[in-house]
C-alpha cells in the first residue's frame, strides 16, 4: 500500500511539470496584456510599457519561465500582479468557501442520490424509476443559474427563510455559515444528484442481477440488508468514482454559482485572474487544481480497497 502511495505521489511530479509548462506558454501566447489593465484607461503607451517592465514581462520568455520555475521549486507560487499578495495567500483565502460549498454539495448529493438510485434499481421499471429518470434529465438540462434564481426567488425573497447571497466564514459562527451555504449547495447538488443517482441505479441494477443476491434473498435476509449490504456494497466502486469526479469538479470552482450567490471561491478567482491576465494567479490556481485532481483521484482509488476487498495495492 505504501509503495503504491509513494508511486502515485511521485507520478504527480511529471504531471505538474507538464501542466506548469503548458499553462505558462499558453498564457504568454494568448492576446492580452496585464500591464494595460493595471495602468487604467487614461494611461499612455509609455506608462503601460513602464508597468510591463516593472512586472518583468519585457524579459525573454525563457528568463521569465526560469524565474517562475525556480520560485515554484521553493514553494513560492509568486505574487499576484493586481492584489500584491502571494498567490498562496489568495488561494488560501478562497479555499474555505470552495471546500465548504463542495463538501455540503456532495453530502447533499450523496445523501439524496444514493438512496434514490438504490430505490429506483430495486423498483426497476416502476413509477419511482421513471420519475428518477425524468428528474435526472431535468437535472442535467436546467442551467445552474436558472435554478439558482428560482430558489432565491422562492426561498429567499418570497419566504424569507435564507439569505440571497454572500458567504459567512465558519469562524463567524456555524449557524450563519450554514445559512449562507444551503441554497448554493442545493443549487449545485441537483446536477450531481442526477448524475450520481443514475450511476447508482445502473450499478445496483447490475448487482441485483447477480447470483449472490438471489442467494441472499433465498437465505431470508431482509430486503433492505440485501440492497445495502450486498447490492450497494458491490456496486460502490463506480459510484465512488463518479463522486470523486464530482468533488474534483467542485473544487475546481463553480463560477456561475459563485457569481450568483456572491461566494468568494476559487472559481471566481480563476475567472477574474484570466480576464485580468493575472499570470501568477492563473498559473498558481491551475497548478493547485491539478494537484487537487490528482489527490482526489488517489483518494478515490484508495477507497476501492474498502468497497472491494479483492482490490489490493
Amino acid at each position: 500500500m505504501w509503495a503504491f502511495l509513494a508511486r502515485r505521489l511521485a507520478a504527480t511530479i511529471p504531471v505538474l511539470l507538464v501542466v506548469a509548462v503548458l499553462v505558462f506558454l499558453m498564457l504568454r501566447l494568448t492576446p492580452g496584456d496585464p500591464a494595460a489593465i493595471l495602468a487604467g484607461d487614461a494611461a499612455t503607451t509609455e506608462q503601460i510599457a513602464a508597468i510591463r517592465a516593472s512586472l518583468g514581462l519585457d524579459r525573454p520568455l525563457p528568463a521569465q519561465f526560469a524565474i517562475w520555475f525556480a520560485n515554484l521549486l521553493a514553494g513560492d507560487l509568486g505574487e499576484s500582479f493586481y492584489f500584491r499578495m502571494k498567490v498562496t495567500a489568495l488561494i488560501g483565502q478562497r479555499l474555505e468557501p470552495t471546500l465548504a460549498l463542495a463538501t455540503l454539495t456532495i453530502v447533499i448529493a450523496v445523501a439524496v442520490a444514493v438512496p434514490l438510485g438504490v430505490a429506483a434499481a430495486w423498483r426497476f421499471g416502476g413509477w419511482l424509476d421513471r420519475a428518477l429518470m425524468g428528474f435526472s434529465v431535468l437535472g442535467f438540462s436546467v442551467p445552474v443559474f436558472v435554478l439558482a434564481y428560482i430558489l432565491i426567488y422562492v426561498v429567499s425573497l418570497k419566504l424569507g427563510w435564507l439569505p440571497v447571497q454572500g458567504y459567512q466564514r465558519l469562524a463567524d459562527g456555524f449557524g450563519p455559515f450554514l445559512r449562507h451555504l444551503i441554497l448554493p449547495a442545493i443549487t449545485l447538488s441537483v446536477v450531481y444528484i442526477a448524475l450520481i443517482a443514475r450511476v447508482t441505479r445502473a450499478s445496483v441494477l447490475e448487482a441485483l442481477g447477480e447470483d449472490y443476491i438471489r442467494t441472499a434473498r433465498a437465505k431470508g435476509l431482509p430486503e433492505l440488508r440485501v440492497l445495502v449490504r450486498h447490492a450497494l456494497a458491490n456496486a460502490a466502486v463506480p459510484i465512488a468514482t463518479v463522486i470523486g469526479i464530482g468533488v474534483a469538479l467542485l473544487i475546481g470552482g463553480v463560477v456561475v454559482t459563485e457569481s450568483v450567490y456572491a461566494i468568494p471561491g476559487l472559481g471566481r478567482l480563476t475567472v477574474d485572474a484570466v480576464l485580468a491576465r493575472d499570470f501568477p494567479t492563473i498559473q498558481g490556481v491551475i497548478l493547485f487544481f491539478s494537484f487537487a485532481y490528482v489527490l482526489v483521484n488517489l483518494v478515490v482509488d484508495l477507497s476501492y480497497v474498502f468497497f472491494d476487498p479483492r482490490i489490493r495495492y
Binding site: P31, G32, D33, P34, A36, I37, L38, A39, G40, D41, A42, A43, T44, T45, E46, Q47, I48, A50, I51, S54, S80, Y82, F83, R84, M85, L90, Q93, R94, Y149, I152, Y153, S156, L157, G160, W161, L162, P163, V164, Q165, G166, Y167, G173, F174, G175, P176, F177, L178, R179, E258, S259, V260, A262, I263, P264, R268, L269, D272, L275, A276, R277
Partner: protein
Amino acid sequence: MSLVVRTLALVLAVTAAGLAHAQGADPKVLRIVPHSNLNILDPIWTTQYMARNHGYMIYDTLFGTDEKSQVKPQMVDTWTVSPDNRLWTFTLRPGLEFHDGVPVTGEDAIASIQRWGKRDAMGQKLMTFVERMDSPNPKTFRIFLREACGFVLEALGKPSSNVPFIMPKRVAETPADKQIEDYIGSGPYVFKRDEFKPGDKAVYVKNAKYVPRKEAPSGTAGGKYVYIDRVEWNLALRDAQAQVNALAKGEVDIIERPAFESYEQLRKADGVQIVNKDPLGFQYMGRFNHLQPPFNNQKVRQAALAAMAQEPFLRAQVGVKEFYRSCPSMFTCNTPYGSPKGSDIQSKSNMKKAQELLKASGYDGTPVVILKPTDLAAIQKLPDVAAQLLRQAGFKVDLQAMDWNTVVTRRAKKDPPAQGGWNIFLTAWVAPDIWNPLTNAAVGADGEKSWFGWPKDEALEKLRDQFARETDDAKKKTLAEAIQARAFEVATHAPLGEYINPLAARKNVSGFVIGPGDIYWNLKKN
C-alpha cells in the same frame, strides 16, 4: 441506523437554529456594492476608478470640486498668489492628522504632489511649470512657477483619476512606478487592511480623529462628516440580478451603479430608492486611430464623425430615456467649458451628409476594425451601433469581438489592424475626466505621445498650451471653445452622448452628497 437518525436530528436542529438566527442590519454598518472589483490600492499608480474611490475613503485632498464644478479648499485653510501668479502659498487647516496620529505637514503635501505629478497627465503638465516647491514651516508649503499658468487650483482640486491625494511623505516617496504598501491617510475613514479580502470585501472604519470643514458637503469639497462606524464594500456580489435581490431583501444598503435593465425592478422594490447624486454622469466616446488607414485621412474621420449620431448609441446602451441626453460638446455639458461650438459636423449632421462626406473624402474601402469588448456590460453595445452606422454611411466594417483585456492591449498597439492594431475603440469617461482641455486626454494632439489614437495637430496643441498658461477665466472659456472647434475639425474622436447611472439604496439611507464620483461620507442609516 439510530446513529444516522441522531446525526440527522442534530444537523436539522443546528440548521433550524441557524435559520432562526435573525441577522439584523446594524445601523452603524453601511454595506455597499461597488461597480467593480478593488484590486489596486494605490490611486496614484493607476487611473482605475475603484482605486480612486478607495482613495477618497482614506485620503484627503488639498482642494475639492463642489457640485457646481467649482474648486474649493479642503485641507488648505488659506492661500495666496503673488501678483505675477508665479508664487502660490498654501496654509493647511489646523487639526489635520494622519491615521497614525502624526500631523499633516507641508512636506507631506509636496511629496504627494510630486509623486502624483509623475503619473497624472494634468499633474505632468503642471510640473512643466513648477520650478520648485518648499515648506517654510510645517503648516505651509509653496509652489514656485517658472511662468504663470491658469490651472494650479483645478489640478490640485481635480476630482477624478488621478486625484492628488495627500499621503505621508514616507509613503509618497515611493517611486511613482511602484505601488505603495502603506495605506495610512488623513481622510474620513481608515482602511482595515487586515480585513481586506480581494474579490470578497474591503472594510473601512470611521476615523474618529478626522476634523471636517464646517461647510456643508458638496461634491468632493465641503465638510466630510461621517455618521457611520463601518463601511463594507461587497466585492463578491457582481451579478446584476443578485445585487437587486440583495438590496430588495436588505442584505446590502447601496448598489453603486445598477445595470440599466435593473431600474424597473428596483423602482418596484419595497424600501428601495433611486438616487441621482451625480447629475453630470458620464460621456461615451468613440476614438479613431489617426496613424492607420482609413482614419489617417482627416476627411474620412469627419465622415465617420458625421455618421455617428449620439441618440442611437444612447438608446442602445442606456435605454432608459430619463438617464441619457445628447451633448454636442467634448467637454461635459453643464460644466464651465461645455459648449456646442464647432460640433455641427456631428450634431447637425445626418446619414445623407455622412455618405456625401465619405464619397468626397476619397475613401478606398479599407475595412474599419472596431474592437468590441464582450465582457464589459457598461459599453458592450456601443461597437455594434458604431458598426451599423458606419456601414450605412458607406464604410466597410470589421467588428471584432474580444474580452476587455484584449481591447486594452490592442488599443495600445500602433500596428496596422491586420497585424493586431485597430481603427476604432469605444469607451466611457466620468464627467471630470473630460470636462476641460487639460484633463480630456482625447483632445491631446501631440502625435505618438498622446493618448491611444495618437492624433497630431500643431494648432490644437498650441491652443491647449495657451489654455494652460491663461489665468483669466473668460479667456479660458474662449480658448476652450476654440480647442473644441479645432478638435471637431480634426475629428480627434466622436463624443457619443452623456448618461447618468443613479445609485440604488435602501430608503433608510440618507445624506447622499451631490457631485461627481462615488462619495461615501455624510451618509446616515436610520
